[in-house]
Symmetry: C2
Subunit: 425 residues, 2 copies
Amino acid sequence: MSFSEFRPLNDNSLVEYIRSVPSLFSKLGNKLDNLTIKEVGDGNLNFVYIVVGSAGSLVVKQAPPYVRSVGESWPMTKERAYFEAASLKEHGRWCPDHVPEVYHFDPTMSVIGMRYLEPPHIILRKGLVAGIEYPLLSEHMSEYMANTLFHTSLLYHSTTDHKRAVAEYCGNVGICRLTEQVVFSDPYKVSQYNRWTSPFLDHDAEALREDNALKIEVAELKSKFCERAQALIHGDLHTSSIMVTRESTQVIDSEFAFYGPMGYDVGAFLGNLILAYFAQDGHANASNDRRKYKEWILKTIEETWNLFQKKFIGLWDKNKDGSGEAYLAAIYNNPELHKLIQTKYMEDLLNDTLGFGAAKMIRRIVGVAHVEDFESIADVAKRANCERRALHLAKLLIKERTAFKSISQVVSAIQSTDPSSKVGR
Amino acid sequence: MSFSEFRPLNDNSLVEYIRSVPSLFSKLGNKLDNLTIKEVGDGNLNFVYIVVGSAGSLVVKQAPPYVRSVGESWPMTKERAYFEAASLKEHGRWCPDHVPEVYHFDPTMSVIGMRYLEPPHIILRKGLVAGIEYPLLSEHMSEYMANTLFHTSLLYHSTTDHKRAVAEYCGNVGICRLTEQVVFSDPYKVSQYNRWTSPFLDHDAEALREDNALKIEVAELKSKFCERAQALIHGDLHTSSIMVTRESTQVIDSEFAFYGPMGYDVGAFLGNLILAYFAQDGHANASNDRRKYKEWILKTIEETWNLFQKKFIGLWDKNKDGSGEAYLAAIYNNPELHKLIQTKYMEDLLNDTLGFGAAKMIRRIVGVAHVEDFESIADVAKRANCERRALHLAKLLIKERTAFKSISQVVSAIQSTDPSSKVGR
């Protein structure tokens, strides 16, 4: 069997493929007996095979030249696999504890071989639906975001290194277009792909399309997404791109990576935690009112930002005399000015985070791709209520994002839009 | 003689070179008799030869691998010639009336052959020093800027076209670094290259280096310059990059071109007109107090912006259902919203223009490269007074740039910092 041109893998050809690639074959101890192969790709784009043998395991991910969840009618560049492998390696270099190791990349077959995140790792979103607390999540995610974003920005890069990397990732344009469409465009217009909890949210979806003040802000966020090459971002950092146990946090699925605004990553993570928060009332039952869990989510949101800010500024302080060209030491090295600059930088980043995070929330409620947090609420009226509250908060966050000066103000805003929370206090 | 590897041209080898290149030779009518060759490069970077024969003429420009005005001790990528040729062609495509035709580009020799702008074309800056009015300047420059900036932005480009072009021009990083250094860094720190009218401006130069509020704003402008790929900008659009007669306006010297913020171009042009304004008191004499000329400069500043805005919005209206992906018609096509979006866009662009324009003013007074507007004022005390007033206005424009809502407010601010103008009113 030849793999000299692209072909979709199946269980049989996958085994042949692994046998033909030493860096994969060796991960199975060069043995193919008693293999179990499971296709587990539940994202929108790719096929993902877990391969477990008697002497080792690995994951093989293949990017077909279309959007898997839609089918061949929505073509999508298979070169995204290159950008996923490249960004996993780059992010892994700066945060090896929270990015799985890449064993192999094959541009012809659009295949990545990487570490299998063994049980009890599960997708974070499923844990959030189940009401499981992850005591290290804020610590780990702040560590991941601070390290990957800082080290790929002009705070650390020379301009030369930065422009070279920006140019390379411009090649991932197909996938950037997908984001532009599903996050910044479709939710604000009539689109065949949009859906929402109907008829309950019909009016809300229509109101979005007619909210001029909101659409002006969304346009500004979209421009920033398209034009601002601030750092190598993951590009899709929601809670299904993270696998967790109580002790481990691993970020996967970075095929959306490109040089964009940092706030898009931080916002994706926090925005999806906020969605999880608003979904909890739909998961409450007689034995568990989820009130305590909601408090944990809020605490995680607040801690994630505060730790992120602390770690990011720590990296900045540590590297302030380094190769980064944004703030030359000879100009900005007086302590008072250095502090002023950092404060302004983090305020701007918080504003971006809220804007992008809220845009990601909206698109999960009225756009093409929904989230299990809400979808798993069987009572549709109850689900619609949860979604509507999330939608209202998201609109507020986008429109008023520059008014928020700290994450605690954001947490207060979340609490104040949540009627059950008011009652509880 | 072989030109298969880079060698600096001289009068003799230039003739051989032209003979070897049909697209150049033909411009001289395939005749090399009675040639006159004049090296006229008075910029900072390149060698420029005017070649006039009995049957035609042309200009040959060669980029040596260093900064000409400094020497071989300051190396500079000779690939800038590629970006100059490419951007002249791209800008010429959108505004052929104001960009000279490119006949030939040779990457090995870093040579561009292009139209000779025959007399009475002169460098605009020399005309401004001489006090010559150009009645069509605002019309022509607004036409040039509106067309080149609009058509290379996401208002006209698809994301795919935009990212491809952005990636290409990331290669011009050497020259972007030069701008970063001389515009955004050196003026705000002690640098061997800095100079100013000493001792008169010693205190002013020191005050700049200690102005924290200013340096915070300059850092923000620098980040925008490095990160925001808004349009294919000329990158060095001061009044020595423009050749003029009363009837003709031609933009040259675009080797600084890259995808950056539009306001950097518009600001370079307007900022240099403001410098010309402040220099006029130094050129005044008994026979000409230059008061009328100063009024003409202010009128030109105001008209340029207003015409630019009108033409830019005109192009936007004309193309609002086109391929541009920033504001999809299906979302933004209601007339009220369309107008709101445009107003916001132009306000943001004015703010960028003022910030970048003022940064360009400052660097011409305390940085490495000065301008003939001031340098030609022989009385150094008088020169320093002109420069100081320009410097004060520039600091105001940077710090308060978001407060300006129209160009007429800017013109008022210029007038109010000019004591002679107050007396005159």
